[in-house]
Symmetry: C2
């Protein structure tokens, strides 16, 4: 059993569960949404705002931090929490995703991944052991294993090789992690796309290493949603109940609630924050493209049902004006709202699981967020 | 006498005075610094942050607001205060400065100024009466007259024509303003550069109109500082003691304290906010160029002596990192600090005038802020 994670409530009608994860920097209530703070800040917000919006944990990108300011500087400054002055839990990814998507000259061997920095072309070799050591040194609460995944779609043969590599690296990651005496946690990442046998093989391989948590990697990248959900059901049948599960990078509320119903506990996505900066705002009546001319004289709040600072104080007309003018404050106010919207839904999800109302919440969320445009 | 403004303390050793200005949206303690909120927001900050930093009043640019969203929309939304949800006093400029500096095809006649919008080239005629009417309709607390000024340096002959036009327009502005029954205030702007006789003529002409406040225009644009200060001394000898005086656009602390010593009550400048976004930060030990490599491992606060949110919570290394990465949050945290630095100095100036210590504060501020780089 894993003393760090315990389930506090289970939905009787689905695999949804509420729980608490203990970390060296505090407790995270699950299901949890992790706002993305790539470089050490949720873009546009102060930590005080992120905390007051109710985030228990944030996600930082190792790839960016490894390159700049670099782990030596972060270590010299007392670790990641002190460096960025965020006192609560931090999860860092392994860097893999950004290597594959941002850098160039990527060459993958059993040893690890060689790539050229997207900043200055510096050639770097990142082995699974390096990814663990660097994250340990930064002092993050939850470390992720370096994994490998091909672009979607890919052949079963290519996926098979990814699963093999990811499994090999996971074993070496755990061996490297075991050399450290730390309360940090290392989580494994399964691959295999939507191929049931490959995903099964990947998950079972990880489970031999007894990770503190298990992530689903390589999903939500274009595959049919039904296949994605089947993969989560498969995972639910395999994964130990006493370990947190993390669906990486999936951000649409309609997908999140389906994943929660299939036993997923952790989520992260840039969707609420990036959309906020672009002027796409989530509301209880559907999405609002705030730059639309029709809001120019709309003196009402963005979302009547919302209690965030932005909705309590400002009109759609003002938000439209600031967003149209590319004012920095537009990014701030829009991000406050969108992040509140997400974190508030997660609060409701946790509460609904504890009070046997998850299914009706799920239905109402799906019917709401599927409104791609605001209802008249 | 002007019931709206009263002096509460006078420095016995200079012309410095502390006072209170009543407006329809509250009281402003003077000497006052007005953060610039060109389009209706102090760039990067929420109104809650601006208020908690202690700003009594903000300055908005009419030129920008006239063009977008336009006065019709602002009026339809209940006026400027409701539109931007800022409950405290607002001063708007007349639009003149931005017309002369941003727009093209500027043609000035006695009637007013014709120009082409810098956005789409639309031809616009702005008469002094229009500037007043538009500001009245927006509902700003303090309106400024449309003035005219030539670039520095210019001949006495050119300046003479500017003074004539500015005086003509001021009379017409007051006539237009007098048609409105409002508690708003119209302030006049004197021109004349550093030519004593022209500045005198301009100020005396304005005084015939009995404006609620008097601004110095066309200063701080490259003329020798001694001539600037002599001009303020000249104005002090002429202007009624019971009216607020406003030195437009001057932002260096060393100039501000000299101007306060010569009887100036109001200031505005983009310096603290624009510099913040560029990474130039003001501290009690001199200026800090936060992007400098030397701060990469500096775990101390930006300014040990500062009580702002940024200095209480974050290190120079973190601010450097965010500023280098062009994170929006860097603009936020840096602006919080620089604006706190300015507003705190104004609090100290007001207190020092009331407690007979303005002269020593002035000396210490000048010796500090003249440090162009941080002391080792």
């Amino acid at each position: 059993m894993n003393a760090a994670f315990r389930t506090t409530a289970r939905d009787p009608h689905s695999a949804a569960r509420a729980g608490l994860l203990e970390t060296p920097h505090g407790t995270v209530a699950t299901p949890a949404f992790m706002p993305v703070a790539s470089q050490g800040t949720v873009k546009g917000l102060t930590h005080a705002q992120v905390e007051s919006l109710g985030a228990d944990i944030i996600l930082l990108n190792s790839y960016h931090l490894f390159l700049r300011p670099g782990v030596e500087d972060i270590e010299a400054l007392g670790g990641l929490h002190r460096f960025i002055s965020w006192p609560k839990p931090i999860l860092t990814d392994s860097g893999g995703f950004q290597i594959y998507s941002l850098s160039s000259l990527v060459r993958v061997t059993d040893e690890g991944v060689r790539f050229a920095s997207h900043l200055d072309g510096t050639k770097i070799l990142l082995r699974p052991e390096d990814a663990v050591d660097l994250q340990v040194r930064m002092g993050t609460d939850i470390l992720m294993c370096l994994d490998h995944f091909p672009a979607y779609p890919c052949s079963e043969e290519t996926m098979k090789e990814s699963v093999r590599l990811t499994g090999l690296w996971a074993r070496r990651s755990m061996a490297a992690f075991a050399r450290h005496d730390t309360r940090q946690q290392l989580w494994g990442i399964s691959q295999g796309g939507i191929y049931p046998d490959l995903r099964t093989r990947s998950i079972e391989g990880l489970m031999e290493q007894d990770f503190a948590g298990y992530a689903y990697g390589g999903l939500g990248i274009g595959e049919p949603k039904t296949r994605l959900f089947e993969t989560l059901e498969l995972g639910h049948g395999l994964l130990p109940a006493d370990r947190p599960r993390y669906l990486m990078g999936m951000g649409y509320i309609e997908d999140i609630v389906e994943a929660v119903a299939r036993g997923v506990d952790f989520f992260d996505c840039v969707l609420p924050t990036r959309n906020a900066r672009n002027g796409t705002l989530f509301t209880s009546r559907g999405r609002v493209a705030i730059k639309n001319r029709k809001y120019a004289r709309d003196g009402g709040p963005l979302d009547e049902a919302c209690a965030c600072y932005t909705c309590r104080n400002f009109s759609r007309a003002y938000l439209r004006h600031l967003t149209e003018r590319d004012e920095i404050t537009a990014a701030v106010l829009n991000t406050v709202h969108n992040l509140h919207f997400y974190l508030d839904i997660f609060r409701k999800i946790r509460h609904s699981i504890a009070s046997d109302s998850f299914d009706s919440l799920k239905k109402s969320l799906i019917s709401n967020v599927l409104l791609k445009e605001e209802m008249p």
